[in-house]
Symmetry: C2
Subunit: 334 residues, 2 copies
DNA sequence: ATCGGTTTCGCAACCGTTATCGATACCGGA
DNA sequence: TCCGGTATCGATAACGGTTGCGAAACCGAT
């Protein structure tokens, strides 16, 4: 940890001007192969790490894409991220993740923080934001993509699925298979707008056949197998006639399955189960749980592509509204 | 999206100098409450987002902490992250995550990228790095904390557990309970150094009682319940006398449990199972799986505290070497 | 009215890199 | 040998804020 090593030092050591050193290290043109090699060598030996803060300020460009998601524990967003990373890998852009904790105020502050770094693009989960956030998203001149959800009014680009439709679709499947005493277990609504939409779509679907939910349970905090199991146990105890439960997340339905296993209930004979997301953890369980695929990876990929395209066209690209179709898989529990 | 709104514009609108506006918006002293309120109001109305690139260049300070982890899908690092976030929440610092994909070359490039933003600190998982990475970590003047592992030679600060010890400890427990035909299922070693250390510690522990592994299986790619189940099935098929399997991850041991459930094997009567990490997903399963807690949240907290302290002392703080003790929980499967 | 001590504010000089554009070196052809 | 054109390089001025002072304004007390 000697002295801070600056570009000017590297340049001096190489016997060239700052400019030439800068160009060489960035791979910019107008530098002879020989000088470039020499400068690179010197930079390598001395362990020069360029100061991108200064560089970005000067070039007015930042090779970062801000990605704002509600949580990283929930199994679901990492996969969106991997879609984004996969596409960005072929470009100089890098994703930077911010976590909003399912809290719109926190989201506002995270987005403000990210925008203050002037990223090349912003990808944010969900269409619901504070007024201030919406204004920021409108005013910023980097491309903005709202992902995961299409039921609402996007600020700019939008890629996702309709959770209303997903909920309704699952209701139809459940009804088609003859279940009539149906329970719902989901997160506290104010936290998770998409879960609420699935719930609304689901009850809509029931209402279309003049049915209502036989039972309903909300929980707060992160979803977990544990909570899924407990709430299922409680619900079945107080409502033994239930023949099907729809969960707002696969993690919860796995918990439901675990309860049934432990209680010796046959699935779907005694009770049918269905979740949402088509998470990885569904693979390898005793029964293939019914679920709806949320197209997470593809959503990430498409969002990233919008950012890339917008970079090429210089922000003059047309508005994208990508509504993917969530596929239901019935598994063995419906 | 009118014109870029700069500090100078806000200042002009408020009828003050740039300096006063800058101070007001940063909450710096030497601004009267009245002027400050006025400036803030104007900034709010017009949706001014400060340019932190310029700010950081000028103030030579960046309120970001770089966190480099191998993966976000693996269930384990998000919890380290949440420990970091929890501690940083009380400070102006924000974590920024980079993913290295269990690849040291990629890690090098991610770390170089992060350091080029001159963060206030760097937290990186693991003690194994390329030579170039080590040099960067030594040369940088921000505090560096290597986490998760203590078996090795840290560049500077270090917080983690001994995976050698964790493996050995589990071996002792398994042997103490009378198991003698023991199998191991783990990730391909070159990818995951900590898994390899647990493996080494485990075989050491067996060797201490003149035992060797009865069977061994490696897989590549991410751990999953699915693979855990498949590999367990294969191993038990070719080696029916096995009485215990140790997995390099809980995700895998859950898969093992699922196989046993499906195959009608009694656990631990027919076969005992043990994993590692003490992941959330172990809660709510039919049986409480044996595991070792990896202290993930606490490791994150402590690492973040080191960064904070170093900020106070101006980098003059002493070297920290925190070796936490991983607690084994036997559950019901040993 | 004068004075010392605070507040409150603004000027100027940076922070480390890159864009711009002009200067110089080099090269083959006339 | 001279010339136009192309490689290669360097001086200078940004980029948008903040630090470090000094200046001005304000205050109650003398």
């Amino acid at each position: 940890m000697t002295k801070k090593l600056l570009l000017k030092d590297v340049a001096k050591l190489a016997g060239v001007s700052e400019m030439t050193a800068s160009r060489a290290l960035r791979g910019a043109p107008d530098v002879s192969a020989k000088t470039k090699a020499k400068i690179e060598e010197i930079a390598r030996i001395h362990g020069y790490v360029p100061n991108r803060i200064a560089g970005s300020l000067s070039s007015q460009s930042v090779n970062l894409v801000a990605v704002v998601v509600p949580s990283l524990n929930s199994f679901v967003f990492p996969e969106v991220l991997s879609g984004i990373s996969a596409v960005l890998k072929e470009s100089p852009l890098k994703p930077v993740v911010g976590v909003s904790g399912y809290d719109l105020e926190e989201e506002e502050s995270v987005i403000r923080e990210m925008l203050s770094w002037r990223p090349s693009g912003l990808i944010v989960a969900g269409l619901e934001h504070t007024e201030v956030t919406r204004r920021m998203l409108q005013q910023t001149d980097c491309p903005v993509v709202e992902v995961m959800d299409v039921d609402g009014d996007p600020v700019r680009h939008c890629v996702g699925i309709s959770h209303l439709q997903a909920g309704r679709g699952m209701a139809e499947q459940i009804l088609a298979r003859g279940y009539r005493n149906i329970g719902f277990i989901g997160t506290k609504m104010p936290q998770d707008f998409r879960a609420r939409k699935r719930f609304d779509g689901f009850t809509d679907g029931l209402a279309a056949q003049s049915l209502t939910l036989a039972d309903l349970e909300h929980y707060s905090g992160e979803s977990s197998i544990q909570t899924g199991r407990q709430l299922t146990s409680q619900m079945l105890a107080r409502n033994p006639r239930l023949d099907c439960i729809y969960y707002s997340s696969d993690v919860m339905s796995v918990g439901g399955l675990m309860h049934c296993l432990a209680a010796g209930l046959s699935v779907p004979g005694d009770i049918a189960l269905a979740g949402f997301n088509n998470l990885q953890i569904l693979q390898g369980l005793p029964l293939q749980l019914a679920t709806t695929d949320a197209c997470r990876h593809e959503i990430g990929e498409r969002a990233a592509r919008i950012i890339l395209k917008s970079r090429e066209t210089g922000g003059a690209e047309g508005l994208v509204f990508d509504r993917l179709t969530p596929a239901i898989s019935l598994g063995e529990t419906l």
